[in-house]
């Protein structure tokens, strides 16, 4: 296993009990066919007072699930979850949450939205109003008290989300990708404002735990970053960031940490010979729904100047103005199809990849079809079954059920979508959505 550098962070000698203490947490979903899907496996962590901790991982790595377990919104299948020394049985007092989608009540004004957490605590009306206005002031929303959320911009809405969480004076603030539905500039302003308030000690909270898939954001904000691996989610590494706030993205040490995390996240998993870190193998390989346009687009970008076939991944992500989270699945699909490979955080086109870029549309399709059959077992299976059947037709269920033996229904749906769109592009097989049936009608 390439996992766990250090999964235990008990700071012996520290006098106060940790705020959060998780040990051996496991989360399993029962699939409809009765088999289990492990989302989190043996996760242990503690959160002490006075730190900002980041949970960094790919989408689908179970980091949001982990956050919800800590929030008491979701019971863990196994393991113990303690909040201030007591076992968690439901949402606890002293924890507040900020949501990716803001989760504001559209029918309440800004002021009423902020007050709602205090209503649950039974705080009297006058006191409620005073504290809400205090929080609104703190977070820079004065003048918007009587506005409804739909009148606000995304950034202002998320400020309401922060004010609503801070007003209850939580000991721990949980943040679930709080900046990822905002545009780049707005997100940066909000991050800086939050970090400023934190460094000045003006936030009525002890610690922050945030979930993110944005590596730079994690390095910018967190004192400690826990990297979560995908399927099943485990804590793969812990990275301490000791830089003082405010941090400078151009600082060489900062860049060093970002590069280090990039290569950890994209590093080859040695036990998987496919080269890519797809979960599963053979028919059970989980395929991301990546469009063939993105695949050829990325290959073309790699082949062109200034990269000429080889690029630093963070650099490439910046050039393409694409979050890393979106770049990874495309890159991995290219690796799977042997059109590109990864080494030390660098993406590199293979010979086949270079050849692909030079070809015309029909040639590209033929080459893509060859690689699809050779390296994606599911594609090969579908084509073989269609060839063997006299009718040259096979129902969707014939394959989706087989795929579902290896993964959740949702993932199976994605995998089937991916294989259909790749197969159609390669003219390897056709698919009739109405009849939910594969066929050999369209292909040449």
């Amino acid at each position: 296993m390439n996992i766990v550098e250090s999964a235990k962070f008990h700071r012996s000698g520290e006098p106060t009990a940790p705020l959060v203490d998780l040990s051996g947490v496991r989360q399993v979903y029962r699939k409809s066919d009765g088999s289990d899907l492990v989302v989190l496996d043996n996760v242990s962590l503690t959160i002490a007072g006075g730190e900002i901790v980041g949970l960094l991982g790919r989408s689908g790595s179970g980091k949001s699930t982990l956050l919800r377990i800590i929030a008491g919104l979701l019971p863990a299948t196994a393991g113990t979850v303690r909040w201030c020394g007591k076992p968690v049985t439901g949402p606890c007092e002293g924890i507040a949450m900020v949501f990716q989608s803001f989760a504001l009540f559209p029918w309440l004004t800004v002021l009423e939205n902020v007050e709602i957490g205090l209503e649950a605590l039974g705080v009297p009306a006058a006191e409620r109003r005073r504290r809400a206005i205090e929080a609104i002031d703190l977070i820079g929303l004065d003048g918007f008290e009587s506005a409804y959320p739909k009148e606000l911009s995304g950034g202002m809405r998320q400020r309401v989300g922060f004010a609503r969480a801070l007003v209850v004076h939580p000991r721990l603030l949980l943040m679930d990708e709080p900046f990822s539905s905002l545009d780049v500039l707005t997100a940066e302003t909000l991050r800086t404002d939050l970090i400023d308030l934190w460094s000045e000690g003006r936030l009525p909270i002890e610690s922050i735990l945030m979930v993110t898939h944005n590596i730079e954001e994690a390095v910018l904000m967190c004192d400690r970053i826990l990297i979560i691996s995908s399927t099943p989610g485990r804590i793969m590494a812990e990275i301490k960031v000791d830089l003082p706030h405010p941090r400078n993205r151009l600082d060489p040490v900062f860049r060093q940490i970002v590069d280090d995390i990039y290569s950890r996240i994209t590093q080859r998993a040695p036990e998987k010979p496919g080269g890519a870190s797809f979960a599963g193998a053979g028919i059970g390989m989980l395929l991301p729904h990546v469009s063939t346009n993105s695949l050829s687009g990325l290959m073309e970008a790699l082949a062109a100047a200034p990269y000429h076939g080889k690029a630093d991944l963070p650099d490439l992500a910046a050039t393409l103005q694409m979050p890393a989270d979106e770049l990874f699945p495309i890159m991995e699909t290219l690796q799977l199809l042997r059109f590109a490979e990864m080494a030390e955080g660098d993406a590199q086109l293979t010979d086949a990849g270079r050849h692909f870029v030079d070809l015309e549309i029909d040639g590209r399709k033929r080459l893509f079809a060859e690689h699809l059959v050779a390296y994606v077992p599911l594609a090969a299976l579908i084509r073989r079954v269609l060839d063997e059947r006299p009718s040259h037709r096979a129902p969707f269920m014939r394959f989706s059920e087989e795929v579902e033996d290896y993964m959740s229904e949702e993932d199976a749906e994605d995998t089937m979508r991916a294989i259909i769109s790749w197969g159609r592009y390669a003219e390897l097989f056709g698919y009739d959505e109405e009849a939910r049936q594969f066929n050999l009608e369209n292909p040449a």
Binding site: F105, W107, L111, E119, G122
Partner: protein
């Protein structure tokens, strides 16, 4: 430090300066209070007074009759709301209740509304012997059944689809179940509920008018109202009186729309979840007036504040048991054995009900009756199909023409909705007179009566569909020079199909219900009867023949269910899968 907070100041009020709106508000408020008290007192008088002060055809009496009719409608709506909140919430929260309630509601909405009246009127009369109240309640109950099922469905659907993030926020901030219901679930359900309440109330004028004058066996009730006014006019062959009743009804629906629906819709708009401030906001002069007048603010605001503060209390069910005992209890309650016990209970209850029905119907009926009723049912089915088809052929092209012209649509759309609300049975007499004079066959010519009320649903849905048809698709069709037949089949019809299906479902439901009134018509001593299940049910009601009534209603409900399952649901699923434009 001086801090200026607009929010802090909302609590303080300035000097009291009455304005013009206050005068209106004052008159309206007290006027309606007096009317309500007056109408309420009338229901407590002994039944005998109905005979001593019979319905009068004097048009001057119509405002009072209209008021009585309207009050019944409002009372039914209040009961419907209470039922909706209780039963809809129960179905959404309890898995076991859901298992029983949802299929039950589905069947209940297929039962013809007037069937409920025939069944329950005797029971309600027995509940309050000798008082008008019993008869009032029976009618209110019938109207309740015309409104409540789809309101409950709407509420249940909303509770089941509360957005996951809002649900998590409510839980993370530890709102109590009480706060959650009033602060999250009810507001979220509000737009759907308001829309369905409006639709149900519009649809139920028809039944209200039909049920005010009803005969079940030896019991004949004529409650003062527009419906009984029309019934008397029919009896006395007085066309002028019917004209007056139509006018009164038009005025009533118009006032209802202005004073109730528009303010409700304008107010409900703030509960929509879409976080974008787009489109035109619905407005209402009454709501604006309420917001502007100081008097209504000083009276209503404290009441509103009191209600709001009730919804804000963190009320919780006190924990009677220790945490451990609660855990054991909730485990036992959620166990498979409890499921099985519940299922057994449901099966036993159903078996008993089946036995009850069989023994009741079998006392007087033979298989021959079943065969007769079924063939009558098929005749009525044919009429419903013809009605929907004819309405489609006539109104789809017209609706598309109107919908594509925004300025025309703006004027016609409210009119179409208004016509859908208007109880068509008020204009039946004109058609009946024509049939009698021309000596036409009732079997054929009573069918268009069913169209009178139902066609508007198709019209206004098609207008809505055509007016939201995306402009770029229209332009694309134009640049590729798609004309004539191709334009209808490949561009417009698929574009409005989901709207059309919605309209056609409502229209066919209304057509079934209308058949009970439309297949049999009176003009003085002349009675026109078409062969059909509707007429059969009406005759069984008049004769007080309960076994045949049960059989007729059961067969009609069954036909409606089959019609829905075999035709409308697949079409609806197809429309929402293939032809959605968003």
């Amino acid at each position: 430090m001086t801090m200026h907070h607009p929010a802090m100041e909302t609590g303080r009020r300035g000097r009291y300066v009455p304005n013009l709106w206050d005068v209106f508000a004052f008159i309206l408020l007290f006027g309606s209070l007096i009317l309500i008290v007056h109408g309420g007192r009338e229901t407590l008088v002994p039944l005998g007074t109905l005979d001593t002060s019979p319905i009068s055809l004097d048009p001057a009496m119509l405002p009072e009759y209209a008021l009585r009719t309207t009050l019944r409608m409002l009372e039914a709506a209040v009961f419907s709301l209470i039922f909706t909140f209780a039963v809809g919430a129960l179905a959404a929260k309890s898995r076991r209740a859901e298992m029983v309630i949802i299929p039950l509601l589905d069947i209940l909405q297929s039962v013809p509304v007037l069937g409920f009246l025939s069944f329950t009127v005797v029971g309600f009369m027995a509940l309050f012997p000798g008082r008008v109240l019993g008869a009032e309640l029976a009618v209110i109950f019938a109207i309740f059944t015309a409104q409540v099922w789809n309101m409950t469905f709407s509420f249940y659907q909303s509770l089941k689809t509360v957005p996951a993030d809002l649900d998590e926020a409510a839980r993370a901030f530890r709102l109590s179940a009480w706060q959650r219901f009033w602060r999250l679930e009810v507001p979220f359900a509000m737009p759907g509920l308001i829309w369905n309440t409006m639709m149900s109330m519009s649809g139920s004028w028809f039944f209200l008018v039909a049920s005010e004058a009803i005969t079940v066996g030896n019991t004949t009730i004529t409650l003062p109202g527009i419906g009984s006014y029309v019934a008397l006019a029919l009896d006395q062959r007085n066309l002028a009186a019917i004209g007056w009743a139509v006018l009164a009804m038009l005025a009533t629906i118009l006032i209802y729309d202005q004073l109730l629906f528009r303010p409700l819709v304008a107010w409900g708009d703030k509960f929509r979840v879409e976080l974008t401030a787009g489109g035109t906001e619905p407005r209402s002069w009454l709501l604006d007036a309420i917001h502007r007048t100081r008097l209504s603010q000083t009276i209503l605001a404290p009441a509103g504040a009191a209600l709001m503060s009730a919804s804000r209390q963190p009320l919780r069910v006190p924990a009677l048991l220790s945490p451990r005992a609660r855990k054991t209890w909730s485990e036992a309650w959620g166990s498979v054995w409890m499921d099985r016990a519940w299922l057994t209970l449901v099966i036993i209850a159903s078996a008993y009900a089946l036995w009850l029905i069989a023994s009741f119907v079998a006392t007087e009926l033979a298989w021959r009756d079943v065969a007769d009723v079924t063939s009558l049912g098929l005749l009525t089915t044919l009429r419903v199909i013809v009605t929907v088809l004819l309405s489609t052929i006539i109104w789809v092209p017209i609706g598309v023409w109107i919908g594509l012209r925004p300025r025309v649509a703006e004027r016609v759309q409210p009119l179409a909705q208004f016509l859908a609300a208007f109880p068509a049975n008020l204009i039946f007499p004109f058609a009946v007179v024509a049939i009698v004079r021309l000596n036409a066959s009732p079997d054929i010519w009573l069918t268009p009566l069913m169209m009178l009320g139902t066609q508007w649903y198709i019209l206004f849905n098609v207008i809505a569909g055509a007016s939201t048809f995306p402009n770029d698709l229209k332009e694309a069709a134009a640049t590729f020079r798609i004309h004539g037949w191709d334009w209808w089949w490949k561009v417009m019809l698929p574009g409005i199909f989901p709207y059309y299906v919605t309209g056609a479902i409502t229209a066919s439901g209304a057509a079934w219900n209308t058949s009970i009134v439309a297949e049999i018509a009176n003009w003085g001593q002349t009675t026109l009867v078409a062969h059909g299940l509707g007429a059969y049910i009406t005759q069984a009601t008049d004769a007080g023949d309960y076994p045949r009534l049960v059989l007729g209603i059961a067969v009609m409900s069954l036909l409606v269910v089959l019609f829905n399952r075999l035709l409308w649901r697949p079409l609806y699923a197809f429309a929402s899968r293939r032809m959605r434009l968003d």
